[in-house]
Symmetry: C2
Subunit: 364 residues, 2 copies
């Protein structure tokens, strides 16, 4: 081997080394902007307004803020076929994320129902204060930790209406044997007053009410009720008592979330929290606009509030059921106590602020 | 030159080429993470709770979500010495951003007062619905465009209390000659009922009220009033009519904002919007907690609402003043009309939702 051969060999070695370094540097650059492709399963059907839009808003924000580093594909129930399997799918890591409502897991873990809304519970602004400044997020984290998922507020419908009734409810006697679609814990409470609670798929509700197979039903409020058309067949629209602040939820698989870099965790958390608040404003707007439309097109729709003795009885049964469940469930009791004591304080404030103000600014 | 020499020269050329490429690649990498160092001027003093915390939250979110690419330094009024010069400083580009309240620019451009809150106007959830879904953001953009700044909601205090009074107000006669600190448009309205409106710096308010130099004052609500100590010297705490949903504002210099890359614009917008909603929840919580403390320590504090005839008169004077200003100001009229027509719809919804619900769940 002559000198120039040796020099050539050295150069080749250096060249290979540099090439590897260069390739490595390109790889590092690529790693600095990897794609996180996540999938989200939602309980709702394709193109479901407001709920689905909140999920889309969250996904858009994540994509824009991460400069395309992270994208979230949204699967509706039409795709994954398991609207009430969202918690299990996120827990198993089959989906990194879900969007649903916490009270759907009542049968699996009764403590989880507190994080949606409660009969005679807090209004949306009161409940957001509880979540973010009154210990609610910590309790939700604790309750969901057993399921290895993180849970975040996922959008509020605002105060839900008490439902559409074919006949007026004048006394407790009118509730006895009344067939009503009202799901969840509120149904349990109503059944204590003799209501026959049934569950009917959304697509069959209109026909069931129209044919008298049911006498009443509860859905959401004007924001989503208008499209369902119930106002065409049931003239009594009752004000709400059972879902004063229905909050949906984002679920995130703990391991997948913890593995994200810090900036993407911040982006995700912020996007979810904002999408939730934003859905509350959207619901407020759509309810206002749709209620206005319903009143114009159907001026005979009658707004009613349940008689005082029914409300009083519902409160008693509600508290009795809650205390029963709390008696042998420490987690349930901890959340119940937190909500009750917080609500006492925050309602005292609402009384002298928004409520006092509205009393002077709403004509009876 | 022999073959191996030629080969060596080729290798050297390649090596130099690769080295340059490698160096270039490193430079590109560094450019991909530039620092945007912005400055924000706020109207508030250093360590001002809730308001200042909302600004800090926004800045923290921007830093975390941008992975340190963008940082915002916050200057309080103690530093920049111009609490009411924030709009001008942002307009001039002296500061990229500001945090203040839109009604402070009433003297400069009267149309801007609508974006904070209005006497007998919308509640916070109603107003957020107007901003984001009822055309409010578009109108705010239009009104601020003349000032070459973008304006964004910057945090809500919730319903503000009507103020601390040393004596009870039983009729309109009790308002004649009453010396009260109440700034802005609400002061204009009250002065029509004979109130002598004065403005006194925050630091001198307690002494002025204690010595009887003023008979009453309006500040915020329990969230911020507790620290001021007014409850120790004025036993009547009146419910509010004048600021049902005080929204602060972020101001951003248009040129500076437009020059940001798309992902940072998305991060900024999201961080500001979330910090605003979050301040509303924080205010709700702090008012609830502080009102509870005031009641415990000062059980003699009396909550009062102004007599119906005073409220009615204030409404008349309020509308008269607004209509006067609208008569020769097209921008003012456009915003006034939008708020009035939106409020009619959204209040009809509030009446059958939150208000109906609260009536059944608040003991008189």
């Amino acid at each position: 081997m002559n000198k120039s051969m040796k020099f050539s060999r050295l150069l080749v070695t250096l060249l290979v080394g540099f090439s590897l370094l260069f390739a490595g540097s390109l790889a590092t650059k690529a790693e600095a902007a990897p794609k996180y492709n996540w999938k989200l399963a939602m309980t709702w059907p394709t193109n479901f307004p407001i709920f689905g839009d909140a999920v889309q808003k969250m996904a858009n924000l994540v994509k824009e803020m991460s400069n395309g580093e992270m994208e979230i594909r949204i699967d509706s129930k039409n795709k994954h076929k398991a609207p009430f399997g969202v918690l299990d799918m996120v827990k198993a890591g089959q989906y990194e994320m879900g969007h649903s409502a916490s009270y759907y897991w009542k049968g699996k873990d009764v403590s989880l129902m507190f994080f949606t809304t409660m009969p005679f519970g807090m209004t949306a602004p009161e409940q957001y204060a509880w979540f973010y400044y009154g210990g609610g997020m910590e309790l939700m984290g604790k309750a969901y930790d057993r399921h290895k998922v993180y849970s975040f507020p996922g959008g509020n419908t605002g105060n839900q209406m008490g439902g559409w009734f074919r006949k007026e409810i004048k006394s407790e006697a009118d509730l006895k044997g009344l067939k009503m679609r009202i799901p969840g814990f509120a149904g349990e409470v109503l059944s204590k007053l003799g209501v026959v609670v049934t569950n009917i798929p959304a697509g069959e509700l209109y026909t069931a009410l129209d044919r008298g197979n049911i006498d009443a039903l509860e859905w959401v409020g004007p924001s989503l009720d208008l499209n369902m058309g119930f106002h065409k067949i049931a003239p009594y629209y009752y004000t709400g008592w059972h879902e004063p602040a229905t909050e949906l939820q984002f679920l995130v698989n703990q391991k997948k979330f913890d593995a994200l870099p810090a900036n993407l965790r911040a982006i995700m958390t912020t996007a979810m929290e904002l999408a939730a608040y934003d859905m509350y404003s959207r619901s407020m707007n759509d309810s206002a606009v749709n209620w206005d439309l319903i009143q114009k097109d159907y001026p005979d729709i009658k707004i009613r509030t349940f008689p005082k003795e029914i409300i009083a009885k519902l409160k008693v049964e509600n508290n009795k059921l809650l205390d029963e469940k709390a008696a042998n469930n420490a987690m349930f009791k901890e959340i119940l106590d937190s909500q009750r004591s917080y609500m006492k304080k925050v309602r005292a404030w609402t009384k002298i602020s928004d409520f006092a103000y509205l009393k002077d600014n709403i004509s009876e």
